[in-house]
Point group: C2
Chain length 813, copies 2
Amino acid sequence: MDDRKALITLDGESSAEDDPIILQKEAGPTSKAVQDFGLHQREEPSTSALARRATLSGNNHLLDDSQPLLMGNNSVPPDIPINGSAGSPNRNINSSEPIFHLRSRTAAASTPNYESLDYEVCENTLFQDEQRKRLTERFSLRKDIIRWIIFIQIGIITALIACTIDIIIEELSIRKYTFLYNSVKENVPLSDASDRDLLIPYLYWLLFSIVPVAFGAAMVTYIEPITAGSGIPQVKSYLNGVKIPRIVRIKTLAVKAIGVITSVVGGLAGGKEGPMIHAGAVVAAGISQGKSTTFLKDFRIFKAFRDDHEKRDFVLGGGAAGVSAAFGAPIGGMLFSLEEAASFWNQNLIWRTLVASIISVFTLNIVLSAYHGLNDFTFTGLFNLGKFDTPLKFDYFELPIFMILGVTGGLLGAAWNSLNTKINKFRKRFIPWKIGKVLEAVVVAMMGVTLACLMIYFINDCRPLGNDPTNNPVQLFCEDNEYNAVAALWFQTPEATVRSLFHDPPGSHKILTLALFTVVYYVLSCATFGLNVSLGVFIPTALVGAAWGRLLAMLTYYVFPQAEFLHPGKYALIGAAANLGGVLRMTISLSVILMETTGVETSFFFPLIIALISAKWVGDYFNEGIYDTQIQVNHVPMLTWEPLPQYKGLKAREILSKPVICIKIRDSANYIYEMLKKCDHNGFPVVDDVCGDRRSEGRVCGIILRSQLIVILLKSLYVENKRFWLPETSIQTFRDLYPRFPSIKSVRKLDEKINYTVDLSMFMNPSPIRVNPHDSVPRIFQIFRALGLRHLLVINHENRIAGIITRRDFIYK
Amino acid sequence: MDDRKALITLDGESSAEDDPIILQKEAGPTSKAVQDFGLHQREEPSTSALARRATLSGNNHLLDDSQPLLMGNNSVPPDIPINGSAGSPNRNINSSEPIFHLRSRTAAASTPNYESLDYEVCENTLFQDEQRKRLTERFSLRKDIIRWIIFIQIGIITALIACTIDIIIEELSIRKYTFLYNSVKENVPLSDASDRDLLIPYLYWLLFSIVPVAFGAAMVTYIEPITAGSGIPQVKSYLNGVKIPRIVRIKTLAVKAIGVITSVVGGLAGGKEGPMIHAGAVVAAGISQGKSTTFLKDFRIFKAFRDDHEKRDFVLGGGAAGVSAAFGAPIGGMLFSLEEAASFWNQNLIWRTLVASIISVFTLNIVLSAYHGLNDFTFTGLFNLGKFDTPLKFDYFELPIFMILGVTGGLLGAAWNSLNTKINKFRKRFIPWKIGKVLEAVVVAMMGVTLACLMIYFINDCRPLGNDPTNNPVQLFCEDNEYNAVAALWFQTPEATVRSLFHDPPGSHKILTLALFTVVYYVLSCATFGLNVSLGVFIPTALVGAAWGRLLAMLTYYVFPQAEFLHPGKYALIGAAANLGGVLRMTISLSVILMETTGVETSFFFPLIIALISAKWVGDYFNEGIYDTQIQVNHVPMLTWEPLPQYKGLKAREILSKPVICIKIRDSANYIYEMLKKCDHNGFPVVDDVCGDRRSEGRVCGIILRSQLIVILLKSLYVENKRFWLPETSIQTFRDLYPRFPSIKSVRKLDEKINYTVDLSMFMNPSPIRVNPHDSVPRIFQIFRALGLRHLLVINHENRIAGIITRRDFIYK
């Protein structure tokens, strides 16, 4: 099902209006619309005249569409409940079925069909009735308070989930690396270089990587494939208005949580930050709706928030709470949501988002303080990436250096994005099988372990014990009172390694160690992102950046030993910022997050932002940020902030889809039923002033959604039995089925109701946004984007439909 | 001139359509629309028939409106250039003038008429022609680069202006207070309490207050009254789309700069921060337009940016640069712009705003470092409010205390706002004369000096010298080796006093000193804000908060001497935050600004935001923030983020203005000329398919602005002389006159062109946004707000005009 609505010719409409430009465009090589030319349907004058007469005399339950081609004669007269008896006395015309003409102008056949969300509130009569009942100040205040409560709940629960993930990862990692440490100790007893036997620890290490990674990858692949990756592109798409199936289910959350734990513990080059954002989004969607589809449980609360618009706002808050919990950075989390995730902003929303973030960080702090046994009740903040003890200072002449680091980050980031995209394309093409995807994750995990072992084996980087910053100082091949600096880099989670690179004292590593580590991790992280595991890209990116930042400082210090300003930790931080900027292309939120996670002073914001901006500008020259790239690769119809430059000079008439299937404001139930069965459009203009069956020549008076029509049919909301349903039907009748409206298949054959009539005036959205065919595309894009529309009706001078524009029509390349 | 367009009956239109609800509402007590019932104009059938015929035969230069009441017969036949000769052979009908029916539903007679800005881009044929020429990638890139350059320039120049103001204030203040210090020293030679003679220093002090304040107040009052106050409400209104006359002129900037210098040096209870935002806005508007009206100079650059939409974005960047320069806080500045000033956001804009802020802070740092003689090239950041040397820590059990402080701040802030509003109302009513306004400022300045002197005189608060934090430790009535703590508070600028309160060691003041200081400054600042001087409210508010915050800590410590966590500086900071939150009702930006100006750690964000949020919530219960209050008091038609709750349940037809003056797509020059002279509407629907002179029954095909019509008349862009002007007319013809389009009075009588015709199809905006009369007001509000519209056409089912809605119609109370 998708939003293209003009794929099918149902009405007996001539497309003589077809603009020559469109025809030309469609006839071009990229077009698949050649069938389109067959769409001029001949109209039997006598039939339509009859139908017109029938309509005028009130008998408007007739099928007005022609040609009995696709389906059998399943429209039966109202008083004969048995199927199949064609030509009953009530039917004045042969109800002929329409031909189907698919006109797939915008979507390639292979791309998945994403639906849009209904951010536009349908202000139909039922909605207005509800509004009128709730006009009181009290109700409005109550709804506001409940909204706040939900946001606070989102903050708390997101933080609790983040804590759980955090603690489990930490516990398991400590156990894993302690075991490996002991195993190394036992198997490499001597510092004698002749007896270099790492085989047994290597095998253990492999085992501890393969088992969790395989488990996680299998869960993701077989149970819920949507949980692969960081989840940020998906959440971003969702917030833009694209319906990503199963993105905010509790099942997704469970798989994602287990997936991220197994992958991080397994030692893949990834972080838990992206998944936490996704987790926050799920929590938000779950809580705000007061029901769970996974558990088939409806708590019957928060019913007023059951629509896409409200849900979107909660999901934004959940995402922010997730980032905040992941980094312990409330402002950073809020800004991240704004900068990267949100497509729609508004002051109150930002407010609530901030509160959710703060509550989330606070909860996280309390729980983690308790876990770590800090009972002095002093709030320290969470410095996930470790606090810089001495304030970082910098001189003016360092600013160009920061800029150079930024440019380097931009180049490396752009290269990473492009390489990663290529790897993922290769993956998509050559590894279609599920088992292959699991195996691939295992192979990458093995590759990581092997490379690490080789580095440890071949590089002799021994440092004196004492100021060792690692928990497990492996003596491995070193003298007594020394530890192996290479092993120290690898024998911990990536997050801990970032911390080491930021805070290890100068001279903790050899140049060769860091250089090799950078290269290995760069390649590893590139191969990892895109695997069928739940992992974020933030931490590995920061790690690579920190490694080369520190490396550059060391190299420069090696060349100019008098340059005392070259504090390696500082340059590691700038390097991490630059690399993050190059890959993710964010600036404000990244700088704030880095500040909040390392506790540097606000004056250090300046170098961070210089590096980030340089990285972003350089990177943007080559390609887009990794999240946007992923969205593009997946053909998600995401609307950008600004209209695409390609659309300059185009008119609405050149991108609209037509002909449009319209419904009369009082139309026959059978027509609607048949039409829904045959086409998969989601929005139908409602017209009146219709001459017989020439629906598409009526005047537009509203729009109705497929989901609403299905509810109408399901609940038999017909004119003829109005007295039965009218008193108890309200907007809640429709909201109850949200968000998973049944498909038309779940509607039984109409049978005895086949001649019934539906009066849409109560259900349709009477205020669709309408534009002219001669309006420019950038302009209508802005309208579409700013109002979060799903369908935009293009009408002519006389308020008759000329076409319809949806999200997909703006994505056309 | 204002945007209400339906004030006048020009067309011979029957208002039989009038909804009964409207009639009922208008007949209510709050309505002034009783005249409205006189608007059913009788239509002389013969006349209109003639006119119709005349139109059909191409003679459509006729006035079709009736009744020669308000004006004389100044429409003359085309071939007779002399006025006053009615009944010429060319005129088939008696051109009778329209009656004017004012229907002032929304605006009280006394409120100033604010116009709206045209944020909506008018995509007429000329615009499209330009777009087509500039379709190339290169042009678009070039425009982007120029935009970046402008933003960078804005940052630099704003910072330079801020520096200049800063340095002048500092130099003058040092001189003033050193002089007073010496004068005190000379005149109060002994610490002997018997000889307490402060008269001479008091008189000096008065002199040094009165002279600058009087000068500043006179400049503001006589030269540019718009510069009074902080400027933030004005900038905020401007960014919301309200045209505030003279708000962004260079003259305004000059007066504002001098005004703020004189007021701060004069010792008024105000800060320089608000005015700096305004200064940034002026700089942005000036640079981006490449011309200055004050100097009548057009640099002929940046012509592509000469429209309200582009200018708005630059002004936002300028405002952010101004805040950043005022506080040395780049993120804070950007967030301030977003949270408080901006009404329209978008990702790219935020980006550019951030860059402008950073450039601004950087420039400021370099200049001020040079000024202060710091030549070690170490970037320290500007901690305007002083850096906390030891990191501020807090315990969990302090959080409720912070919350209590927040609640206190909210209460005090709400009381302050309400008191200030009352004072200002009083002021407006009883001090209408200019000289009175200047005198009032002088009186307040004198009051401040007097109260300070009394405090110094009567309170004996001596502290030992040594760790004295003030520059001028006045011995005054104290023993040798002691200084007077009261004098220390008063003998400096308010900003320096905030710094003292944050950083003075514990025990620097008596409880009585601080208590009295708080009360005095609370009252003083309340009396000051609203004076006719250029002053911001940020610093005095922070100062009051810091004083009572410190006071509360001292009191508590006095009661519980074992409570060691009661660091007075910390509580002063929280108190400042709480008070700011209570008065300004911002949260995110305030917390970031306080962090950036005091260099506290990011973990201290948490207490700050707790205090701010509590303050905001409590304050919001009572009234609005001070800026919003000011906007309301001035009756600025500001559109809120969300539709007002009062509008729930209303329909478009209940708020629209009608009847509407329409123009035919080909209309007579004379009709347009006469109409523009007689009404002051700014937007006119363009209709075609018109039957004779019944313009308002035509079908809507566009909208045209008053300014465009005036340009058309001024440049004689008629159909008849098309060959002369067509080749050289472009969108630039219209843009050249931006932003001060001439009034209709500058158009000479049409004389020989009276029978000429104007073809609007090339000039009108062919894509006006249209809604239905039955659309709900919250919905159309969202459309209006999101798209930044100026006119919203309400059309009926057949695309004929039913009314028009502008900003003012949404402000109705």
